[in-house]
């Protein structure tokens, strides 16, 4: 004979651990709370023993930095509580929560209904109407918040999985009563609803009921149910107390679509019917549902503006369109500078903004530079994007007005297009970044990544010369060239190999010609470009060079790098040719440190040593 299965109310491992955690948080709070005045007094009354729900609501509110105190009214006296809440709770409350179960209030009616008593349902409806009337009376005389529960599906007795779906049986009875109750409550202004029927579905029907506790204590629910219900109640209560966020600012590449439009092109990005494009498209639909509730949408992207608009305006897979956006900052400035401009354009505070980006560095920067903005890292698994963001409570508000629904459109119409001159003082920010660049002679193991960068980098690329791996390898072994890789790190982490320079050295060794200079857009700004030229000039001078020659060859994509040469002090000597005397080369900015890599002097190293290493690796 096989062992009986563990009862469902024992819960699954992860859910149980989370419930234990919540209870511990509440216990720790209660034992240490002597001096902390509660911000909120919650009265809880139910048709069952509700005391065990308290730790879960309390813990949920604690995670929102709200200390609550609870008073639990006598069990199964909902009507009395509605008529005289002061007496039931032994004092005043800020929030009253009323929860009930169909089987507690209407057990006779259920039994009658299931045995064919034609009048049973109308008797249940009459009880329902009197409960609604009591709630209406409570609402009329109580100034605080009122939350009432939609009853969960009945458990025990006649309930079974078969009956769950039975329109003429218990399923139909519960559906009718729960639906009518929601309608009744909807007609009372200012009453919030916690849907315990949905909570039960979320926790699992079988896992929600603990018959032992029901028989012993008149407390029917498992911790799995109570934990979910507590979190939901915490969310509803907080929504009435905290201003909802007003605007979500979105990154574009790898956030609104898969891929990078500047690199992959409009045909190369993923957005549409096929996964992973479908996951991003569903994210668009979620964003539009927020917009319909009054949340403004904005974009902050490091990109060529035209590339982003091409996707919005032309890509057939896009659900989100340009007209849905209320503001945008699409340029190469740090996002911490663009976001306050978005807030100003929309006439809201930066503390009303939520920033969503797939890049951990951008999120870390934003949290550092603008801690009042809620910055959220988009899940790297596209399939998890919608489910993760749906759980956000930031935009929760209890009542959505017509004005909310129209806000996004109104803001869009009034969008202030003036150029805002306000800039943040960025010096302190830069100093705190601990920026380091490592400009190093490329090693064999780097050549694959370097070739990849040479062939895919479009935007910050002076010459856009493409090369095969064999060509790169040959060039790396030649004494007429220097092949450099660039790594950038800062206090948030490492950006990896993100830049390449190929310098051709003249026969007299006095002139270095920048055959290739490219950077990944991730590392642009913050002085990195200047540090790059400063470091290269150090190396060149150390081996006797006196000048750099460079060219800028414009393409459809590389407008971003057009000003690089003049910005670094190069002067124009021809249609596309530029020149820099190394005595006038910029120094590495003081907030950036040049790393000295292992085995490399940092001032260049002998070509023969490099060749020896190359051939040693090649011979393996």
């Amino acid at each position: 004979m096989s062992e009986p299965m563990a009862p469902a109310y024992a819960g699954d491992v992860a859910g149980r651990a989370a419930a234990i955690e919540a209870k511990k948080a509440w216990r720790d709070h209660v034992s240490g709370a002597a001096g902390r005045a509660p911000a909120l007094r919650v009265g809880l009354a139910a048709s069952f023993t509700a005391d065990t729900l308290v730790p879960f609501i309390g813990a949920a509110l604690l995670t929102a930095d709200t200390v609550a105190e609870f008073k639990v009214g006598p069990y199964n006296q909902l009507f009395q509580t509605c008529l005289d809440p002061q007496a039931s709770f032994g004092g005043p409350c800020d929030v009253i929560v009323l929860l009930w179960r169909v089987e507690d209030l209407m057990l006779d009616e259920i039994t009658g209904f299931l045995s064919g008593d034609a009048e049973a349902l109308s008797r249940a409806r009459a009880k329902l109407a009197s409960l609604a009337a009591a709630i209406r009376q409570l609402r009329g005389g109580f100034p605080g918040m009122v939350v009432v529960g939609v009853p969960p599906y009945p458990t025990g007795g006649a309930a079974s999985l078969l009956s769950l779906d039975n329109a003429g049986g218990l399923g139909g009875f519960h559906r009718t009563l729960a639906g009518e109750f929601v309608d009744e409550i909807g007609r009372i202004e200012g009453v919030s609803v916690v849907d315990l029927d949905a909570v039960q579905r979320q926790a699992g029907f079988a896992a929600s009921f603990d018959p032992r506790k029901w028989y012993l204590y008149r407390q029917p629910f498992s911790d799995a149910f109570l934990h979910t219900a507590g979190r939901q109640l915490g969310r509803i209560i907080m929504a009435s107390r905290r201003a909802a966020k007003k605007c979500v600012v979105l990154d574009a590449d790898n956030t609104l679509w898969g891929g990078i439009v500047g690199e992959d092109g409009i045909d190369g990005i993923q957005i549409g019917d096929e996964f992973p494009g479908s996951a991003y498209r569903d994210f668009h639909k979620l964003l539009l549902s927020w917009r319909a509730r009054g949340v403004l949408l904005a974009v902050a992207s490091k990109n060529n503006e035209a590339d982003v608009w091409e996707v919005f305006d032309r890509h057939s897979g896009m659900v989100l369109r340009r007209e849905h956006l209320s503001a945008w900052q699409i340029n190469w400035q740090p996002k911490a500078e663009g976001i306050p401009l978005i807030a100003r354009a929309l006439n809201i505070g930066t503390d009303s903004l939520v920033f969503i980006d797939d890049n951990p560095m951008e999120v870390a920067y934003m949290r550092d530079a603008l801690p009042e903005v809620t910055s959220i890292l988009l899940p790297s698994e596209p399939a998890d994007i919608v489910s993760t963001l749906q759980a956000l409570t930031l935009f929760d508000q209890l009542e959505v007005t017509d004005e909310d629904r129209k806000r996004a459109d109104m803001m869009r119409a009034e969008r202030d297009r003036e150029v805002l001159g306000a800039q943040i003082n960025h010096t302190d920010f830069l100093q705190a970044l601990d920026l380091r660049i490592d400009l190093f002679n490329a090693r064999t193991e780097d050549l694959g990544r370097i070739t990849q960068l040479i062939n895919k980098t479009n935007q910050f690329n002076l010459t856009t010369i493409r090369r095969t791996l064999d060509e790169v390898r040959e060039l790396a072994g030649s004494s007429d060239f220097r092949l450099y890789g660039l790594r950038v790190t800062d206090k948030f982490g490492e950006y990896g190999l993100t830049g390449v320079i190929i310098a051709r050295i003249s026969t007299d060794r006095r002139r270095w010609t920048l055959d290739t200079l490219l950077l990944s857009c991730r590392v642009l700004g913050r002085g990195v470009e200047t540090a790059l030229i400063g470091a290269l000039a150090d190396d060149a001078r150390a081996v006797g060079a006196v000048e750099f020659a460079a060219s800028f060859i414009p393409t459809a994509k590389n407008a971003l790098s057009a000003s690089f040469l003049p910005d670094q002090g190069f002067s124009r000597v021809g249609e596309q040719e530029w020149h820099l005397d190394l005595s006038e080369a910029p120094a590495i900015p003081p907030h950036i440190e040049r790393a000295v890599a292992e085995g490399v002097t940092g001032r260049g190293f002998a070509a023969e040593a490099f060749e020896t290493r190359l051939s040693a690796v090649a011979g393996q």
Partner: protein, 78 residues
């Protein structure tokens, strides 16, 4: 008295672990009310990863009995 048992009772009842003994019961511990009894059941199940039957729950009238029940369920350090 093992530390784990003392810890569960002391946390739920809000008394120090030293005050917990085999004789601790609802009769000599006012904190052990019906609400605490309900919380204790879940806390014991959480701590020792067991599921208690109603018969066991009803029998648990003092700490010594709780420890005996746990040992019959294979908990070594109860």
């Amino acid at each position: 008295m093992t530390a784990r048992v003392a810890k569960v009772f002391s946390e739920v009842l809000g008394v120090s672990a030293e005050q917990i003994s085999d004789e601790t019961s609802p009769d000599n511990t006012p904190q052990w009310d019906s609400m605490a009894a309900m919380t204790l059941v879940v806390a014991i199940e959480d701590e020792f990863d067991v599921t208690l039957s109603t018969a066991e729950i009803i029998s648990m009238r003092n700490v010594e009995i709780v420890r005996k029940v746990l040992r019959t369920k294979g908990v070594a350090d109860a």
